[in-house]
Symmetry: C2
Protein backbone atom coordinates (compact mmCIF):
# COMPACT_ATOMS: atom_id res chain seq x y z
CA UNK A 1 0.00 0.00 0.00
CA UNK A 2 1.48 3.39 -1.04
CA UNK A 3 1.88 5.96 1.70
CA UNK A 4 1.00 8.80 -0.69
CA UNK A 5 -2.40 10.27 0.21
CA UNK A 6 -4.78 9.32 -2.62
CA UNK A 7 -7.83 11.43 -1.97
CA UNK A 8 -7.87 14.77 -3.83
CA UNK A 9 -9.82 17.89 -2.90
CA UNK A 10 -11.46 20.31 -5.30
CA UNK A 11 -9.19 23.36 -5.62
CA UNK A 12 -11.97 25.68 -6.71
CA UNK A 13 -13.04 25.81 -3.07
CA UNK A 14 -9.76 27.44 -2.08
CA UNK A 15 -9.29 29.85 -4.98
CA UNK A 16 -10.10 32.90 -2.87
CA UNK A 17 -8.41 36.28 -2.74
CA UNK A 18 -8.49 36.16 1.07
CA UNK A 19 -6.45 32.93 1.13
CA UNK A 20 -2.89 33.66 -0.09
CA UNK A 21 -0.64 30.75 -0.99
CA UNK A 22 2.37 30.12 1.31
CA UNK A 23 5.62 28.79 -0.23
CA UNK A 24 8.26 26.45 1.23
CA UNK A 25 11.61 25.16 -0.09
CA UNK A 26 12.48 21.45 -0.13
CA UNK A 27 13.72 20.61 3.36
CA UNK A 28 11.72 23.32 5.17
CA UNK A 29 9.73 22.30 8.24
CA UNK A 30 6.09 23.40 7.87
CA UNK A 31 4.77 22.37 11.27
CA UNK A 32 6.39 20.76 14.30
CA UNK A 33 4.96 17.94 16.47
CA UNK A 34 3.70 19.28 19.81
CA UNK A 35 3.15 22.87 18.67
CA UNK A 36 -0.23 24.59 19.12
CA UNK A 37 -2.13 24.73 15.82
CA UNK A 38 -4.46 27.21 14.17
CA UNK A 39 -4.70 26.06 10.53
CA UNK A 40 -4.72 23.14 8.12
CA UNK A 41 -3.18 23.10 4.64
CA UNK A 42 -4.07 21.97 1.14
CA UNK A 43 -1.07 21.21 -1.12
CA UNK A 44 -1.24 23.25 -4.34
CA UNK A 45 2.15 22.13 -5.80
CA UNK A 46 4.99 20.01 -4.48
CA UNK A 47 5.00 17.34 -1.80
CA UNK A 48 5.37 17.05 1.99
CA UNK A 49 6.14 14.19 4.38
CA UNK A 50 4.15 13.57 7.59
CA UNK A 51 6.56 12.31 10.26
CA UNK A 52 5.52 10.79 13.60
CA UNK A 53 8.38 10.30 16.06
CA UNK A 54 10.80 10.66 13.12
CA UNK A 55 9.17 8.05 10.84
CA UNK A 56 7.48 9.16 7.60
CA UNK A 57 3.94 7.77 7.90
CA UNK A 58 2.38 9.51 4.88
CA UNK A 59 3.28 11.76 1.93
CA UNK A 60 0.93 14.43 0.63
CA UNK A 61 1.14 15.78 -2.93
CA UNK A 62 -0.91 18.35 -4.90
CA UNK A 63 -4.61 18.13 -4.04
CA UNK A 64 -3.99 16.47 -0.69
CA UNK A 65 -4.48 17.97 2.77
CA UNK A 66 -2.81 17.78 6.16
CA UNK A 67 -2.95 19.45 9.56
CA UNK A 68 -6.73 19.07 9.79
CA UNK A 69 -6.59 16.99 12.99
CA UNK A 70 -5.47 19.89 15.16
CA UNK A 71 -8.37 22.04 13.83
CA UNK A 72 -10.90 19.31 14.53
CA UNK A 73 -9.98 18.51 18.14
CA UNK A 74 -7.93 21.60 19.16
CA UNK A 75 -4.94 19.54 20.21
CA UNK A 76 -1.26 20.29 19.56
CA UNK A 77 0.24 19.02 16.28
CA UNK A 78 0.44 15.22 16.27
CA UNK A 79 3.17 15.12 13.60
CA UNK A 80 6.02 17.10 12.07
CA UNK A 81 5.54 18.10 8.40
CA UNK A 82 8.56 18.62 6.14
CA UNK A 83 8.51 19.80 2.50
CA UNK A 84 10.26 17.15 0.38
CA UNK A 85 9.98 19.29 -2.77
CA UNK A 86 9.53 23.03 -3.27
CA UNK A 87 5.92 23.33 -2.16
CA UNK A 88 3.03 25.82 -2.28
CA UNK A 89 0.39 25.45 0.40
CA UNK A 90 -3.07 26.95 0.87
CA UNK A 91 -3.59 27.63 4.60
CA UNK A 92 -7.14 27.17 5.94
CA UNK A 93 -7.80 28.72 9.33
CA UNK A 94 -10.49 27.58 11.74
CA UNK A 95 -13.02 30.20 10.66
CA UNK A 96 -12.76 29.16 7.00
CA UNK A 97 -12.71 25.47 7.96
CA UNK A 98 -16.03 25.75 9.82
CA UNK A 99 -17.55 27.74 6.93
CA UNK A 100 -16.41 25.08 4.45
CA UNK A 101 -17.84 22.24 6.57
CA UNK A 102 -21.15 24.07 7.03
CA UNK A 103 -21.62 25.29 3.47
CA UNK A 104 -20.04 22.50 1.43
CA UNK A 105 -20.92 19.02 2.71
CA UNK A 106 -18.64 17.49 0.08
CA UNK A 107 -15.68 19.26 1.75
CA UNK A 108 -16.73 17.63 5.04
CA UNK A 109 -16.77 14.25 3.27
CA UNK A 110 -13.34 15.03 1.73
CA UNK A 111 -11.91 15.60 5.19
CA UNK A 112 -13.50 12.37 6.45
CA UNK A 113 -12.07 10.40 3.51
CA UNK A 114 -8.56 11.69 4.23
CA UNK A 115 -8.91 10.70 7.89
CA UNK A 116 -10.23 7.24 7.01
CA UNK A 117 -7.41 6.71 4.49
CA UNK A 118 -4.95 7.58 7.26
CA UNK A 119 -6.54 5.07 9.67
CA UNK A 120 -6.43 2.31 7.05
CA UNK A 121 -2.73 3.06 6.40
CA UNK A 122 -2.08 2.82 10.14
CA UNK A 123 -4.08 -0.43 10.42
CA UNK A 124 -1.63 -1.97 7.94
CA UNK A 125 1.18 -1.26 10.40
CA UNK A 126 -0.53 -2.85 13.43
CA UNK B 1 -4.46 6.93 27.37
CA UNK B 2 -7.74 5.03 27.72
CA UNK B 3 -8.93 3.11 24.65
CA UNK B 4 -12.57 3.98 25.39
CA UNK B 5 -13.89 6.42 22.77
CA UNK B 6 -14.42 9.74 24.55
CA UNK B 7 -16.38 11.79 22.04
CA UNK B 8 -20.17 11.59 22.48
CA UNK B 9 -22.83 12.28 19.86
CA UNK B 10 -26.16 13.97 20.46
CA UNK B 11 -28.82 11.24 20.61
CA UNK B 12 -31.67 13.54 19.65
CA UNK B 13 -30.42 13.29 16.05
CA UNK B 14 -31.15 9.58 15.98
CA UNK B 15 -34.48 9.50 17.84
CA UNK B 16 -36.46 8.78 14.68
CA UNK B 17 -39.34 6.34 14.15
CA UNK B 18 -37.66 5.16 10.90
CA UNK B 19 -34.49 4.11 12.76
CA UNK B 20 -35.29 1.09 14.98
CA UNK B 21 -32.78 0.07 17.66
CA UNK B 22 -30.97 -3.27 17.11
CA UNK B 23 -30.07 -5.37 20.19
CA UNK B 24 -27.07 -7.67 20.78
CA UNK B 25 -26.10 -9.95 23.68
CA UNK B 26 -22.65 -9.81 25.34
CA UNK B 27 -20.33 -11.89 23.13
CA UNK B 28 -22.30 -11.37 19.88
CA UNK B 29 -20.31 -10.30 16.81
CA UNK B 30 -21.85 -7.15 15.30
CA UNK B 31 -19.66 -6.81 12.19
CA UNK B 32 -16.79 -8.91 10.82
CA UNK B 33 -13.50 -7.60 9.33
CA UNK B 34 -13.48 -7.90 5.53
CA UNK B 35 -17.27 -7.94 5.08
CA UNK B 36 -18.99 -5.44 2.77
CA UNK B 37 -20.66 -2.66 4.75
CA UNK B 38 -23.81 -0.59 4.39
CA UNK B 39 -24.26 1.10 7.74
CA UNK B 40 -22.62 2.66 10.76
CA UNK B 41 -23.81 2.44 14.37
CA UNK B 42 -24.31 4.69 17.37
CA UNK B 43 -24.23 2.90 20.76
CA UNK B 44 -27.41 3.60 22.75
CA UNK B 45 -26.64 1.30 25.72
CA UNK B 46 -23.88 -1.19 26.47
CA UNK B 47 -20.36 -1.44 25.10
CA UNK B 48 -18.53 -2.96 22.12
CA UNK B 49 -14.88 -3.74 21.36
CA UNK B 50 -13.22 -2.83 18.03
CA UNK B 51 -10.75 -5.59 17.16
CA UNK B 52 -8.11 -5.36 14.40
CA UNK B 53 -6.38 -8.68 13.62
CA UNK B 54 -7.64 -9.99 16.98
CA UNK B 55 -6.36 -7.07 19.13
CA UNK B 56 -8.84 -4.74 20.84
CA UNK B 57 -7.83 -1.25 19.63
CA UNK B 58 -10.80 0.70 20.97
CA UNK B 59 -13.94 0.30 23.08
CA UNK B 60 -17.15 2.19 22.36
CA UNK B 61 -19.80 2.85 25.02
CA UNK B 62 -23.14 4.73 25.03
CA UNK B 63 -22.96 7.85 22.86
CA UNK B 64 -20.03 6.60 20.80
CA UNK B 65 -20.07 5.53 17.16
CA UNK B 66 -18.33 2.92 15.02
CA UNK B 67 -18.48 1.49 11.50
CA UNK B 68 -18.41 4.95 9.91
CA UNK B 69 -15.20 4.28 7.95
CA UNK B 70 -16.84 1.82 5.57
CA UNK B 71 -19.64 4.34 4.83
CA UNK B 72 -17.13 7.11 4.11
CA UNK B 73 -14.87 5.26 1.67
CA UNK B 74 -17.04 2.29 0.60
CA UNK B 75 -14.41 -0.27 1.60
CA UNK B 76 -15.01 -3.58 3.39
CA UNK B 77 -15.04 -3.55 7.20
CA UNK B 78 -11.57 -2.78 8.59
CA UNK B 79 -12.28 -4.31 11.99
CA UNK B 80 -14.42 -6.88 13.80
CA UNK B 81 -16.85 -5.49 16.38
CA UNK B 82 -17.95 -7.62 19.35
CA UNK B 83 -20.49 -6.67 22.03
CA UNK B 84 -18.78 -6.89 25.42
CA UNK B 85 -22.01 -6.11 27.29
CA UNK B 86 -25.66 -6.49 26.26
CA UNK B 87 -25.84 -3.63 23.77
CA UNK B 88 -28.47 -1.61 21.88
CA UNK B 89 -27.30 0.01 18.63
CA UNK B 90 -28.86 2.62 16.34
CA UNK B 91 -27.98 1.68 12.73
CA UNK B 92 -27.40 4.57 10.30
CA UNK B 93 -27.48 3.66 6.64
CA UNK B 94 -25.72 5.60 3.88
CA UNK B 95 -28.80 7.60 2.88
CA UNK B 96 -29.34 8.83 6.47
CA UNK B 97 -25.58 9.39 6.92
CA UNK B 98 -25.42 11.72 3.90
CA UNK B 99 -28.56 13.57 5.08
CA UNK B 100 -27.04 14.04 8.55
CA UNK B 101 -23.73 15.34 7.11
CA UNK B 102 -25.55 17.75 4.78
CA UNK B 103 -28.15 19.04 7.20
CA UNK B 104 -26.27 18.98 10.51
CA UNK B 105 -22.68 20.22 10.23
CA UNK B 106 -22.13 19.41 13.90
CA UNK B 107 -22.77 15.73 13.08
CA UNK B 108 -20.04 15.99 10.40
CA UNK B 109 -17.71 17.47 13.02
CA UNK B 110 -18.70 14.67 15.46
CA UNK B 111 -17.66 12.07 12.91
CA UNK B 112 -14.38 13.90 12.26
CA UNK B 113 -13.64 14.08 16.00
CA UNK B 114 -14.16 10.32 16.38
CA UNK B 115 -11.82 9.66 13.44
CA UNK B 116 -9.17 12.03 14.82
CA UNK B 117 -9.43 10.45 18.27
CA UNK B 118 -8.82 7.05 16.64
CA UNK B 119 -5.74 8.34 14.77
CA UNK B 120 -4.28 9.79 17.97
CA UNK B 121 -4.86 6.46 19.76
CA UNK B 122 -3.04 4.68 16.92
CA UNK B 123 -0.17 7.22 16.96
CA UNK B 124 0.46 6.22 20.58
CA UNK B 125 1.10 2.66 19.37
CA UNK B 126 3.60 3.63 16.63
Amino acid sequence: MSIVQKHQVDFKLFDRPDVPVRSFKAGDTVVTEGEPAKEMFVVRNGKVAIKVHGDTVEEVAAGGMFGEMALIDHSPRSATIVAIEDTDLVPINERLFVILVQDTPFFALDVMRVLVERIRLMNQRL
